[in-house]
Amino acid sequence: MARKNRNPVGKNVDPEAQKKKTRTLTLKSSDGQEFSISESAAVLSIAIENMVEDDCAGGVIPLPLVDGGTLARVITYLNKHAEDGASDEEKRKFDEEFVSGMEMGVLFDVVLAANYLDIRGLLREVRRRIADRMKNKSVEWVRKTFHIESDFTPEEEEQMKKEFAWAWEGVDSDVDD
């Protein structure tokens, strides 16, 4: 499959790129909400780009794995990154602010959506943010947040905690999200 030039701020006036800017697509979330988005923004998602190329364009693109709230967030991200004249620095600042206010649950929803829609930049940004939040957290916080049941015996766990006691120094309280 031929990959088209995905650079939205190409200097040359490419008629195909112009068309993409004016053409709009409709994305439909799992809970039935519909969102309009320019094709040039939508195809920053490689999954959507593939669907468009496979000729689903014109109609509505159903995204049964993404709920409306998450899709709205993803569209905000795509629009910013497709914006004409937005500098790399501006986008970097936008990315920073975009994820900074999100609660852990929202970050999880967005990372799943970005993974499903294959939006590399967003995926990277959200993964990094999740990792940053985990750094100083306790094992209990991680289990709760990731829905993990410990499958160690209490003796095994005690033994590991003793063996690596130094790594437990400086753990934050779990209050934050």
């Binding site: 999880f108 985990m134 750094k135 094992v139 829905h147 410990s150 499958d151 766990e157």
Partner: protein
Amino acid sequence: MPTLPFEIITIILLMLPTETLVKFQCVCRAWRDLIRDSMFIKEHLQIRASKGKGYLLYVPMAHDTGRAFKLLCERTFEQVLEIDIPFQPVEMSLIIIGSCNGLLCLSDTERFGTTIYLCNPYIRRYRVIDHPITGVVGSSNPRNDSITLGFGYYDKTNDYKIIRVVAPSDEHDDYLDLSSEHHEIAQNTKVEVYSSIINSWKNVEVESFQWSMFDVKSELVVCDSIHWKAFCRDTNKDVLVILAFHLGNETFQQIKLPNYDVDEEDWLEYVGLYKGNLSLFLFHQVDHQHPWQEQCCYLWVMKEYGVDSSWTKTLTITVDPGIVRPLVFTRDDEMIFADADQDLVVCHFDSSTAKIVRVEEKGYLNFATYVDSLVLLEG
């Protein structure tokens, strides 16, 4: 809260600091097994390395109280971390044989080359290496055997190897003619290799070992080979060369030195790594009458590995104060050496500038570059 697929969790965990991952082994068995997996550890190390955060590490001498590994920031040279030695070393100075991917190979002055440790101080893991197979066959006094060690990582098999060369002492009571003595030493030199994967030693067959080791240790790996200075025995005279041991096929190869001593003599040679190339640093022993006298030093670089004709005199550096002992080449194209006052001096090659670094201890310090990693976590 949704549940994330394991492949996304894996990528997120790869971004976490070493100490956080050590703690998160306790989350569940799946996480523990992932964090201890050798491919995960390797990938984590590559990500850490790409961020360029490194340390310089040293171990104070035996008589210092509260002996611990000291870690300095590689840029500012400020001490950022102190880690207790996780095992009980003998009351002798520890010697760093090499440092690679967070793993240190250590020995001590008392039983150099016989007591050997692998240690990842950052995660407080260590392994006492079993005794090597043998000393020299028929050695009259094993304590006089000369032992040379090398430590390096072989990427293709993800293996950390220790090389141990033992030669019988060449002091003899009876006078022997040089060639027959050489013959005897060549016949009796033993080469052994330890592999971290199998956690044991094996003999390396060398038909006739024609070198006499000059360096007693090395961690200098270029093109999968570890390098020491050595004398190649010749019937007429001994010639200084660089001896390379390939960590994969476990054979020796000799690299000729450039023709640097045409004008002057008495050069001291230090073999290091400059911008990824095998390099030879030449300096003069400090003049004790005038220890502060400026010195002119040269850096020769082997532009194409293994090609003797590619040695190029690349830099001429004036250092002040004079060099007593080079300690380590850093990752930032710097060399750290001890001056006549036993202070440490950092000499930056490209800008040809030198500055003195203050550390708490002075004297015979062992320096190594260091990065934190999970290597050896699996036990």
